[in-house]
Symmetry: C2
DNA sequence: TGTATCTTGTTATTGTATTACACTTGAGGG
DNA sequence: CCCTCAAGTGTAATACAATAACAAGATACA
């Protein structure tokens, strides 16, 4: 649990973005986004699932995967393909594909959005989507 | 089944590379590499497994995963993280991380190796490994 | 011969994600 | 008001991806 003010702030932004797009941030979707925002790094779907159902009515896998699909498709979250995990998007509605820098020690993710056109693309290749995930040590973890 | 001359040619190169590195391209590893080279695009581990055991002695998952780990660690193959699939490396021993261009229509993979230093890396981030996978339409598939 | 290392076999299990179908809810139109 | 349609959710079962743990053969070499 990090700063709660940040958390609610981002949730409010998410609400606004959904309103603008005409899609609905339902309680389940909101809860999942909240869990992602609250985490220190990428979170696995089944970990979300476990957090989602401490109570009686046990959530099932499709519930969390549906919520994640929604969040990813609206740009509120990203899937980290090389980790099979998910992370909240901390930018608004940026153009360009997400570029993730993931610390292998502390797990923190820093996010950028690349507008850059690729050089050295194969002749005639028409780009639609990119997965870019960089691993290394973040500035904080270099001290150790 | 594509041109067999190409295939054996690449296998021979793989042999040579393993010899240079002092690692052994055992029959199983060689067979898996052959299947990867022979495929039109990335192949899933369980598809390899199925191809590996048409006979009696049924190969088990660890067999193919171990072979794949070996091929990836020696640079003879790459894992396509966003597909959970594997593809043969068509370059020799290039420096720099692999950059994959994957056609969403025909599944073909074109591969480059990036030596480029990243601009706009977060302050003090020390890079160790990158996953870069681009999706789109290859030149051939644009005609349609 | 002994032993150390690498490779493979085998069984079981864990982890990740989807299919298929039933049910509810809310909005808009007759 | 009732109908219907679409979006969202519940639920059970299953498919797909990867690993753990331990046994056993193979090779090299002191």
């Amino acid at each position: 649990m990090t700063l709660h003010s940040d958390l609610t702030h981002s949730l409010a932004e998410a609400e606004a973005l959904c309103a603008r797009k005409g899609v609905s941030l339902t309680p389940i979707r909101k809860r999942v986004l909240e869990l992602l925002l609250d985490a220190d790094g990428p979170v696995k779907a089944y970990d979300l699932l476990a957090q989602l159902k401490p109570g009686a009515g046990a959530a099932q896998p499709p519930t969390v995967y549906r919520a994640l699909d929604f969040l990813v498709s609206t740009g509120l979250a990203h899937k980290v393909e090389s980790l099979n995990a998910y992370t909240a998007c901390i930018h608004g509605e940026e153009a360009g594909g997400p570029v993730l820098f993931i610390c292998e020690k502390c797990g923190a993710v820093q996010e950028q959005h690349a507008h850059a056109k690729l050089k050295d693309m194969p002749e005639g290749f028409q780009l639609t989507r990119s997965v870019v995930e960089h691993y290394g040590l973040c500035a904080n973890c270099q001290a150790a």
